[in-house]
Amino acid sequence: MYGGGNVFEATKFDDLQTEDPVKLAEFEARIARGEKIEPNDWMPQLYRKQLIRMIEQHAHSEIIGALPEGTWITRAPGFRRKMAQMAKVQDEVGHAQLLYSAAETLGKTREQMLTDLINGKSKYSNVFNYPAFTWADSNIISWLIDAGAIVNQMANAKGSYGPYSRALERICAEEAFHLKYGHDAVVHMATGTPKQREMIQAALNRWWPPIMTFFGPSDKMSTHTETLMRWKVKMASNDECRQQFLDMYVPKIWELGLTVPDPNLKKNMETGQWEYTEPDWDEFKRVINGDGPCNAERLAVRRTAEERGAWVRRALLNPKAKYVRPLA
C-alpha cells in the first residue's frame, strides 16, 4: 500500500538553467517518445531528487503501513484470517524492499534512507500515524487504504523511471489480493450481526477523515508541477486521484448500507465531480510533522528493530564486502 499525497515543494535544484541544454533536450525527447529512463542515463538533478524522495516515501509507507494492520494479527478472528493478514503484512514489507532498491539505483543507500526514516527526516504516508482500534479498523485499512494506494500506484507505474515502474508492476499484482481480502472482510462485517455492523461503521467513521487526506492537498499548479508532469514523475494530480477513488469506492460503501461520515459528500452530476467537506489540512500538517496519535510508536518500533538486530548484521557482515548499487 502506498501513502500518496506527495507534496512536491521546490528544491534548490529547481533551476533547470544549470543543466546542460543538449542533454536536457535529449532526456525530454526520450520521455516524450514514451521511452523509460534507466539508472545509468543522464538525468536532471530535479528528476533524480524528486524520484528519490517519492520512491523513498513510498518504501517507508510500506514498512510503516505494516504496523497498524500487524496490530491485529495475534487476535484475528479465525486461523484463515490470521494467515491471510500475515500474508498481506508480509507483502507490504516485501514491497518496501523492492522500493528501497528502486530508490537506491538513483544513488541514495538503504542505510541513509533508514536513518532518515528513524530520525524523522523522511516522511511516510500520514494515515499510518492513526491507530487501528479494533479488528474492523484493520479491515477498513485493508480495503480502503489499499484501494487508495492502488489508484496511486497504477498511475505511477506508467511513470518514466524504469526501476520504479518494474517494482510497481510487481506490487500492483500483489495488491489485487489485498483489495479483495479487505473488501471481503468489510462485507463480512457489514452483512453480519448488528454488533458487527456497528463496529465496521465506527471504524469507517474513524478512518474517513484520514482517507480523505490520503492523496494530499490540492496541487498548486506551478511550473515546477508542470515540469514533473512532463517528465512523467507525477502522473496525476492529487485531486484527480481523490476523485477517481471516490468514484470507484463510495458506491461500494453505500451498497452495503454504510454511511460515509460527511453530510456534504455527493457527486455533482453536472460537473461529474465529487463534492465533499474540505479535509482538515491543519490537522494533516500537524500529524505529518510528528504530532499524531501514533507517530512516536511507529518510529520507536522501527528504531528498536534496527537497534536490536544490529549485532546480528554486524556478525554476518563479510569483511570483504563492497557496496555496489543495484543495477535496475
Partner: protein, 211 residues
C-alpha cells in the same frame, strides 16, 4: 513508563516512552551487499531479471530471493549473482541495437582457458533483462564480442549484462519441489475472495440501492 500499544507484540517490547534522541547514521554496509535475481517462470522459459536483494552472503541471498520473488508468483528456478560481478554495457534507445554502439575493447583481466559467461539482453527500456545464452571466453570483453556474434542480430537490444557462470548461483534440478506452492495457500489469492453473493443477498434482504 514503557510504551503501551494496541498491539500486544509492541507492548511486550518494553519501549521507553517519549522522544528518543536521533540515531547515528547507519554505517556503510549495515544493510549488506546487493545481489541481482533472475527467475524462471515456467519449465523451459528463459531466466528473467526480477530485481535485487540485500544479503550478507550468497546462501542468504538465495533464501531472501526465494522469499521475495517466488513467494507470490509461479517460479520453477532461480539464479542469483552478486551485483559487483555483473558487467553492464551502455544503454541504447528503444529500437536500437547496443551491439552496434560498443566497440571491441582490450580485456582488463584474462583467464588462460576459455570459461563460460552468461549473457542477458534488455529488449526494451522498462522491461526486464532476459537470458540470451552462454558463451565461452577468456574475458568479459571477449564474452561480449562472442555474444554479439552469436545473439547480436536478434532484433533491438537496448542493454547487455555479462556475468561469469561461476559467479551465478543456480537452483538445482533435483531441488525442483521447493518451488511447488501448496494448494492450502489460496487465501492469499484474489480469486479466493468472492463477495458478490454476500452483497447481493444483503441487498435483497435490505432493499438498499447502490447509487
Amino acid at each position: 513508563m514503557s510504551l503501551t500499544s494496541l498491539d500486544p507484540r509492541v507492548t511486550r517490547l518494553n519501549l521507553p516512552e517519549g522522544e528518543a534522541p536521533a540515531i547515528e547514521p547507519k554505517p556503510e554496509l549495515d544493510q549488506f551487499e546487493t545481489y541481482e535475481v533472475f527467475h524462471q517462470k515456467k519449465e523451459g522459459a528463459a531466466y528473467t531479471y526480477v530485481g535485487p536483494v540485500h544479503a550478507p552472503n550468497e546462501e542468504v541471498a538465495f533464501l531472501f530471493a526465494k522469499e521475495q520473488y517466488s513467494r507470490r508468483a509461479a517460479c520453477t528456478g532461480m539464479w542469483i549473482a552478486r551485483t559487483e560481478h555483473i558487467q553492464v554495457t551502455p544503454y541504447a534507445g528503444d529500437g536500437e541495437n547496443v551491439y552496434d554502439m560498443v566497440r571491441a575493447q582490450d580485456p582488463t583481466e584474462q583467464s588462460e582457458q576459455p570459461e563460460p559467461y552468461e549473457i542477458f539482453h534488455l529488449k526494451k527500456r522498462g522491461k526486464a533483462h532476459t537470458h540470451a545464452g552462454r558463451v565461452m571466453a577468456t574475458s568479459y570483453q571477449e564474452a561480449l564480442q562472442e555474444a554479439r556474434n552469436q545473439y547480436g542480430d536478434k532484433g533491438p537490444i537496448v542493454n547487455v549484462w555479462v556475468v561469469m557462470s561461476k559467479h551465478v548461483l543456480q537452483s538445482a534440478e533435483e531441488d525442483k519441489d521447493m518451488w511447488t506452492t501448496i494448494p492450502e495457500k489460496k487465501y492469499r489469492e484474489a480469486i479466493a475472495y468472492k463477495v458478490m453473493d454476500k452483497i447481493t443477498k444483503y441487498k435483497e434482504e435490505h432493499k438498499t440501492t447502490a447509487s
